[in-house]
């Protein structure tokens, strides 16, 4: 394929992929066989109960693999969400004779709402705080289940829970539950490859970079939490129908810990791991029943195994197995190099792409940035320099929304972005890289760049289909010279190449303005030359760049315009050569006596 001439919009040849449903047919055939097996094999009551428990628990544990495995957020209240579904079905069918399906749906909706609300109130905190809030929520739910006797029958629990007319026998109900498990499993298995799933992984790997790449971090976390809760509710609803009786102690904090352990034991990263973990943690205590002659012994062994598994199988059993299998796995084919990269920065504003006026950022009494004006002309390379601690990086962080400005105004291509969070600035056309590289380390180079290409407002990805995104990302990777290594994990790249991937991620988004935070830091001299060449090629496409760097050679050669900061204030601004000769600048860099 020959490169099309500059001014003809290339017609992207998007490789047509086989429809997902056909590619994933083996999964559905396998699932159908398992469902048929569950429906036809003859189980005794004990096995049936165990399978029923394992199936419904697994659905809830799948939820954890989304919130914990994909999105990296902890949830110690999964049993409470499980209880929402279970009690909705129980109370609805037993007390009010409402249709099972309606109750199941209601339970899922309640779990969803509770999960979303809980998430909204606390997901900004994360870490230990999230752990505490979810524990508290769990405790309160348990207390309400016990004490709101008018609704929940209190500790008596609810009996005579109905099942749908279609699945009256335990065996058919089990088959139905297994079918639901298979559907949920498909969803959870496929999720990481979707836009939302990629966003969750990005948030887990690096929240700041995710925000700057245009991902709404907060909303992504809430989605993950809500999905987790809804799967908990679904599992609980199925559980209630399966056992025909529910009571508060089945949804206690201890059960939440069991769910969490199931998820970690099997491997939090994949639904297969969740299924394995669930199966084992239901079966192991059953197998160890022979130890019952000494009370406590088997739970002690259970506790010990948890410690050992965490220590020796950090990625769970499935992670352990896949690590072994990976060596034999066929390397996935690297996608075509794609077309030459096109950059088409938006041009809605005037001559200035970025207009910063009176910008200030104070930390308590410290004025890190104070009353700074910057105007970046469209199509040029503008440098922001200054000695260490002069406020350059703080300025960049305020510009990209990581810090809220104390005062001042930021106009990006005519839009006021002063109060916007990072992902909205990205949507408005801002791209950036970080001084200490922030890539999504569990992903391949290609996936990293695809996340960049997915930026809301990117006009060069057509409808945003998987194929179009891949094409765009490959163009960007090829542009920085790493196309052939697209499928490798970030950890296998050198420092300099990681920097290039970060730039490719920003370029794939087709930004209006690119902020580069010390791109030359840590590079050797030949890499610096390559970087210089790259900047020229980017600038040649008309993309405006605002660069921070210490390397005066790079700055003086690349930039047409320079702004100099010292002690948080602007001390010089103008055409490169003039600024560099400015006496204040010279003294700031060399020191005055």
């Amino acid at each position: 394929m020959s490169a099309p001439s500059e001014n003809i919009q290339p017609i992207a040849v998007v490789p047509r992929s086989t429809p997902l449903l056909i590619r994933h047919a083996p999964y559905f055939i396998g699932a159908a066989i398992v469902v048929a097996l569950a429906a036809s094999a003859s189980f005794d009551g004990y096995i049936l109960n165990i399978l029923m428990q394992a199936t419904t628990f697994a659905i809830a544990v799948f939820g954890l693999s989304v919130v914990l495995g994909l999105c990296g957020q902890i949830n110690l209240a999964q049993a409470a969400f499980f209880g929402f579904g279970a009690y909705a079905v129980a109370i609805g069918t037993a007390d009010y004779q409402i249709s099972y399906w309606l109750c199941l749906a209601a339970g899922c909706v309640m779990a969803l709402l509770a999960g979303a609300l809980l998430g909204m109130s606390t997901l900004r905190l994360g870490g230990h705080y999230l752990a505490m809030v979810t524990i508290s929520f769990q405790q309160i739910v348990t207390l309400v289940m016990i004490n709101a006797i008018w609704l929940t029958h209190g500790p008596d629990g609810v009996g005579k829970i109905g099942r749908p007319a279609l699945f009256q026998s335990s065996q058919s109900y089990l088959a139905f539950s297994v079918a639901m498990l298979a559907l949920v499993g498909y969803f959870v298995w496929h999720l990481p490859q979707t836009r939302l799933g990629r966003a969750m992984r990005a948030v887990r790997d690096n929240e700041l970079a995710a925000g700057v790449a245009g991902i709404d971090v907060f909303r992504t976390k809430i989605y993950a939490f809500a999905i987790c809760a809804v799967l908990g509710g679904l599992g609980g609803g199925l559980f209630a129908g399966g056992f025909a009786y529910v009571s508060p102690d089945q949804f206690s904090f201890a059960e939440s810990i069991v769910f969490l352990t199931m998820s970690l034991l099997g491997g939090v990263a994949s639904p297969i791991g969740s299924a394995i973990g669930t199966g084992l943690l239901i079966l192991i205590p059953e197998w160890l029943r022979f130890l019952k002659s000494v009370p406590g012994l088997y739970l002690a062994i259970y506790g010990l195994s948890v410690i050992l598994i965490i220590r020796y199988m950090p990625d769970g059993i499935w992670g352990f197995v896949t690590a072994g299998l990976d060596r034999f796995r066929r390397k996935a084919r690297v996608p075509d190099a794609g077309l030459p990269l096109i950059l088409a920065p938006a041009k809605t504003g005037g001559e200035m792409v970025l207009e910063v006026t009176g910008l200030a950022k104070h930390f308590g009494g410290l004025k890190a940035v104070d009353d700074v004006d910057i105007a970046v002309r469209r199509g040029g390379v503008h440098a922001l320099i200054g000695p260490n601690g002069s406020g350059k990086t703080t300025t960049l962080n305020v510009l990209s929304g990581l810090y809220q400005a104390t005062a001042g105004k930021v106009l990006l291509d005519g839009t006021d972005v002063t109060t916007m969070p990072p992902h909205l600035r990205a949507a408005a056309g801002l791209g950036r890289t970080f001084q200490n590289i922030r890539l999504f380390r569990s992903m391949s180079a290609l996936e990293n760049v695809v996340i960049g290409a997915e930026r809301p407002g990117n006009t060069l990805i057509g409808k945003g289909s998987e194929a179009e995104l891949t094409l765009r990302a490959m163009s960007a990777l090829s542009f920085v010279g790493l196309g052939p290594r697209a499928n490798e994990l970030i950890s296998s790249f050198s420092y300099g190449h990681q920097r290039l991937i970060e730039i490719a991620r920003a370029l794939a988004a087709n930004p209006t303005l690119l902020l580069l935070d010390e791109p030359a830091a840590g590079l050797n001299s030949s890499e610096k030359l390559e970087l210089h060449e790259l900047l020229k090629r980017i600038a040649a496409q008309g993309l405006t760049i605002l660069i921070i760097d210490h390397d005066m050679t790079l700055v003086s050669e690349a930039a047409q315009h320079i702004t100099v900061l010292n002690f948080g204030r602007r001390i010089a601004d103008g055409e490169s050569m003039a600024v560099l000769r400015h006496p204040d600048v010279v003294s700031a860099y060399l020191g005055t006596d």
């Binding site: 914990l68 902890i74 508290s136 929520f137 309160i140 016990i146 406590g296 088997y298 948890v306 410690i307």
Partner: protein
Amino acid sequence: MDLALQLLFTGIGIGAVYALVALGFVLIFRATNVVNFAQGEFSMVAAYLMVVFAVDLALPYWLSFLLSLAGMALLGAVFNLGVYYPLRHRTFLPVIIATIGASILMANSVLAIYGPQPQVLEGWFETPGIQLGPVYLDSQYLLIIAATATLVAFQYWFFEHTLVGKKLQATSQDKEMASLLGISVSTMIMVTFIYSAVLGGLAGILVAPILFVSIQMGSTIALKAFAATIIGGFGDVTGAIIGGLSLGIIETFGAAYVSVPYKDAFAFLVLVLFLVFRPQGIFGERVAEKA
């Protein structure tokens, strides 16, 4: 008024127990950035050790007390080596899970060894309490309040005026810097675990005469102590004390004037309110995110 005074005393007493356990949480959290979910089990194990020494072996109370605390020091060391240390370079999540595993292991090992019957441990004093005007002061609660006050004073002296204390502080503030200064970080973490286990054990021994010695005694206290830790601001010693005391008081008054069955909910409601409106706790400072 008499009623309120009596409630206040009980609230402070039970709050002091939460505070003692919360102190252990805080110390470990400051040193390792990890929440130790097995902290409550330290209290439970220590109470059982007391039963072994003071009741079963009929040793003098003071000797049993010292032996139990020595046992707790050993347990703290083993806990560090077996649970925390191998995972020290991993994220907080696997460590949390490992401590949960350790808590299940400890509780059920004691169950396997000692059986399920709750045990009786006599208090330190012969007299059960004093009637002071309208208020009855339980001698064991008085002891707990005094012990908590003493420990706070000791802690302050220890961290501000001893070399080990200063080293511990340096370690908890900046591990890299501390190791550059020649402080052995792993030793300091070991010391922290030992000290926390002893502290948790002390709480267990003090509270055992009131709550009896049972397998579940640790987990119920620990959850509240945990809440106290958050309310006080994670990683702040004074905060943990204030958090524990206020939780005890809120709970007791809540039970008296609002609802007894929902008593446990008050602690968690207060906690959630704090997390939503003042996540840094009473004393904590909001930590800015670094780009």
